[in-house]
């Protein structure tokens, strides 16, 4: 407890020092570094609103993180960097948490940023509306503002500091209280014409076309940002987007927004950088969900047999251009909570057949043991590919698979509300801490209809208990141990299967300077990124 508190304070004072200009800032503009230029970023989908305090989504962050700032951000080595908060300290009981706020920061409309803004965002937006924020802040009782530059969060139960700080990188964005207070926050005009404290000021949002932001001349980091303007262009067709990239219409595309084959091709193109850097913070998995209400799938042997039947390395090698690896559990190996260990059920067709025979499902007419319906949830480019691969793989061990093609809303309803599926597949995104968006896949008790929660008809008291314990354990080391145990329990039971473990790919023009620098760079403020002349 002491150690963690000390590191926190240390980091807080260190950042206070950088802010004062005493230490070299990692992103400081060097002499002669070129300023100016227009960066055009590709977006393959259009979000409904541009407000990261209401919507936690990379699609929102890629745009709004340049305009609106969070309390903290994630540094290059996984450290928490101060942004609007310059320092923080947790009370020993973990029930209160104080943030010291940066002074002299003004909103783009000229009004000062104060603790009242933080209070309003936390209580009214994060706790009430923000996806995953409502979960994270469900025990938040109040935010006290002893002075305009201090905000103290009070929790009903202990809140682990590492969890809170890591989560706030995504779920800690602050929008101006004076624009939202007293309005219906969901249809506030500032949701589509965002106003923040960030390096860029919102200029224009043309539906279906683009968003434009320009340099904020009064930005608190002096001399920044480097770019004059950022333009985000919406191009939904992946092939068209890669064409736009090659013709120089756009310079950056992140989060696998263009197709794997094009990424693979552009890798060898000297004009572009293709990298997993800049988005390491957002690992994701291909998943296979089992409906345990189906008697065959309620048998752990069948679930393991299915895992043994799918040649994951082959899939990654041939379908994903070698990008990714078989997952060792729900928590990715890039995370500090990863307990180590590889894929628990490696490809072994004979073993799969044996397990199925043992479970009593022998091959019948035409060599078919039984038939399952697989619902692909199309939230990722390769989901249909993986669905097909599962179909092909299970077919070889005598399980016939029928694909049920639905659009995404239909698929979610089918799986999570109607429970009308046998298998489902999609993507799971890990958001820095298992407690944010991963444990809900296993914890029982989510109401029917909530997507990406445990709706599988599977429940384990032990896993529930471990989940709750880990979410309130203040000691980081103990938390890690708890998650290791949790992972082991899950790998044993395999209630659902996290198949692959992957990182997002970005492609950017070689003209970008200071790009892909941190694990959250693609969702970051890019204040120190520049663009060399063409």
């Amino acid at each position: 407890m002491q150690t963690s508190r000390r590191t926190l304070l240390l980091s807080a004072s260190a950042s206070a020092a950088t802010a004062a200009g005493l230490l070299p800032h990692p992103g400081r503009a060097q002499d002669g570094q070129r300023r100016g230029g227009v960066l055009t970023i590709h977006m393959n989908g259009e979000q409904r609103i541009l407000n990261p305090a209401l919507r936690a989504s990379t699609g929102v962050y890629v745009i709004t993180s340049k305009i609106i700032e969070s309390l903290v951000d994630l540094g290059p080595d996984g450290r928490i960097l101060p942004v609007l908060a310059t320092g923080w300290e947790a009370a020993p009981d973990g029930r209160s948490f104080a943030f010291h706020l940066r002074q002299g920061v003004t909103w783009h409309d000229g009004k000062p940023f104060t603790a009242a803004d933080v209070q309003y965002n936390a209580m009214e937006l994060w706790k009430k509306h923000l996806n995953y924020g409502t979960q994270l802040q469900q025990d938040l009782l109040a935010v006290e503002t002893p002075d305009p530059h201090t905000a103290v969060f009070r929790y009903a139960r202990p809140m682990p500091a590492d969890l809170l700080l890591r989560a706030l990188c995504d779920l800690g964005y602050i929008v101006p209280r004076h624009l939202f207070e007293g309005t219906n926050v969901l249809d506030n005009p500032a949701n589509t014409a965002p106003i923040g404290t960030g390096p860029f000021r919102f200029v224009q949002y043309e539906r279906g076309q683009h968003v434009i932001a320009e340099r904020n001349p009064t930005y608190w980091r002096e001399g920044f940002p480097l770019l004059d303007r950022i333009v985000w262009r919406f191009i939904s067709d992946r092939a068209a987007a890669s064409a736009a990239l090659e013709t120089g219409q756009i310079q950056l595309s992140s989060y696998n927004a263009i197709s794997l084959s094009d990424l693979d091709r552009l890798k060898t193109d000297p004009r572009f950088t293709v990298t997993t850097k800049g988005s390491e913070a957002n690992a994701f998995n291909n998943t296979l969900e089992f409906n345990h209400r189906r008697k065959e799938l309620a048998d752990v042997r069948v679930r393991r047999a299915i895992a043994h039947a799918v040649n994951v390395p082959f899939f990654i090698e041939n379908f994903l251009y070698g990008l990714g690896k078989p997952a060792g559990g729900p928590i990715p190996s890039t995370s500090a909570f990863h307990p180590g260990g590889g894929q628990p059920y490696p490809y072994d067709r004979r073993k799969a057949e044996a397990l199925l025979d043992e479970a009593g499902y022998r091959r019948g007419a035409g060599g078919v043991r039984f038939t399952l319906r697989l619902v692909p949830i199309m939230n990722g480019e390769d989901v249909p590919l993986f669905a097909t691969f599962v179909q092909q793989s299970l077919g070889q061990v005598g399980i016939r698979v029928e694909l049920v093609n639905l659009d995404i809303a239909g698929a979610l309803t089918r799986v999570y509300r109607d429970w009308d599926f046998d298998l489902a597949t999609g993507w799971h995104q890990y958001r820095g801490d298992p407690a944010v968006s991963t444990t809900v896949w296993y914890r029982s008790g989510s109401p029917k209809g909530a997507p990406w929660t445990n709706q599988w008809g599977w429940q384990s008291d032990r896993v529930d208990q471990l989940t709750d314990q880990a979410a309130t354990e203040l000691d980081p080391l103990k938390r890690r141990a708890l998650y290791a145990e949790w992972t082991k329990a899950i790998n044993e039971e395999l209630p659902i299967w996290m198949v692959t473990e992957r990182e997002f790919q970005s492609v950017g023009s070689k003209r970008l300077v200071n790009a892909f620098t941190g694990p959250r760079w693609a969702s970051g403020d890019v204040h120190d990124t520049g663009l060399a002349p063409a």
Partner: protein, 277 residues
């Protein structure tokens, strides 16, 4: 038979017929040449055509044999095209026949509905239908049929309007013949030729609609349709363009065949062109 001879004198129409026979031949040969499920994993994905002698047309992003999918796809495409056309013609002929024969309020009501279907962009309605009822083969086929009947209805109605006042129809009525019998036994056979000619257009449209659905990833993934293959190739369009190009050519050939046959029939059955042909 004179019409048939006239048909054979038209080189474009003969080409269409040959292409159609080719597509049908391919469809019939599919289970013989490729007895395995064409959706099975056949080998490493994205092998170029000719690179591996086992896969003369290469493999798709899911490692499936493209040649097998093209052969089996001919069956699916013809099936979707034919059934959707039948559905469309069935609804269209019934609505058009009733409206055209009866006139008055029946005509008004049916034409209102037809108009409603025509005002609504058909592809949009197709999207809605697929979103609502899912996209298995039967639903997709029915939905395509359901959105493409209004033109048939109008055509049939126009034929009926002109035929119902013809004297032979009046003659049937003077004999004491009932309406249903007049509609289906007397007028319909005479109204059918232009409708059958139009069926070529409906079938071509049906095939194209399915491919557009597949392009948007909304068609049935459990069958090896050409549209699905195009959809699968969409992601690798810039590098492995052959994945989309091969089924694209197949669709082109099928639609061309159907259209040429339709147009050939039209020219052969249209007496006005007799002198010129």
């Amino acid at each position: 038979m004179q019409a048939f001879r006239r048909y054979l004198r038209n080189p474009a129409a003969v080409l269409g017929l040959l292409l159609l026979l080719l597509v049908i031949g391919v469809a019939l040969a599919a289970p013989l040449l490729y007895p395995e499920d064409p959706l099975d994993l056949a080998g490493r994905p994205l092998q170029w055509p000719g690179a591996n002698p086992r896969f003369p047309l290469g493999t798709d992003p899911s490692g499936r044999d493209i040649a097998a999918q093209v052969f089996h796809g001919a069956r699916v495409t013809l099936l979707i095209g034919a059934v959707a056309t039948l559905v469309s013609l069935g609804i269209g002929i019934l609505a058009g026949a009733l409206a055209g024969y009866h006139g008055g309020w029946v005509d008004d009501a049916l034409m209102r509905v037809t108009e409603a279907f025509q005002i609504l962009p058909s592809f949009l309605l197709l999207l809605v239908l697929v979103a609502v009822f899912g996209s298995d083969l039967a639903t997709v086929t029915l939905a395509i049929g359901l959105v493409s009947w209004p033109a048939t209805a109008r055509l049939t109605r126009a034929e009926f309007l002109s035929l119902r006042s013809r004297e032979f129809v009046q003659a049937c009525r003077t004999l004491g013949m009932g309406d249903a019998r007049i509609i289906f036994r007397e007028i319909l056979p005479n109204a059918l030729p232009p409708v059958i000619v139009y069926a070529g257009v409906v079938m071509a449209t049906a095939i194209l609609l399915e491919s557009a659905l597949a392009f948007l990833n909304l068609s049935d993934p459990n069958v090896a349709s050409w549209g699905n293959l195009i959809g699968a190739g969409r992601g690798v369009l810039r590098t492995q363009w052959y994945v989309s190009a091969i089924p694209g050519v197949a669709i082109l050939v099928a639609v061309l065949a159907v259209s040429l046959v339709g147009q050939g029939l039209n020219d052969a059955l249209n007496p006005r062109l007799k002198a010129a042909a």
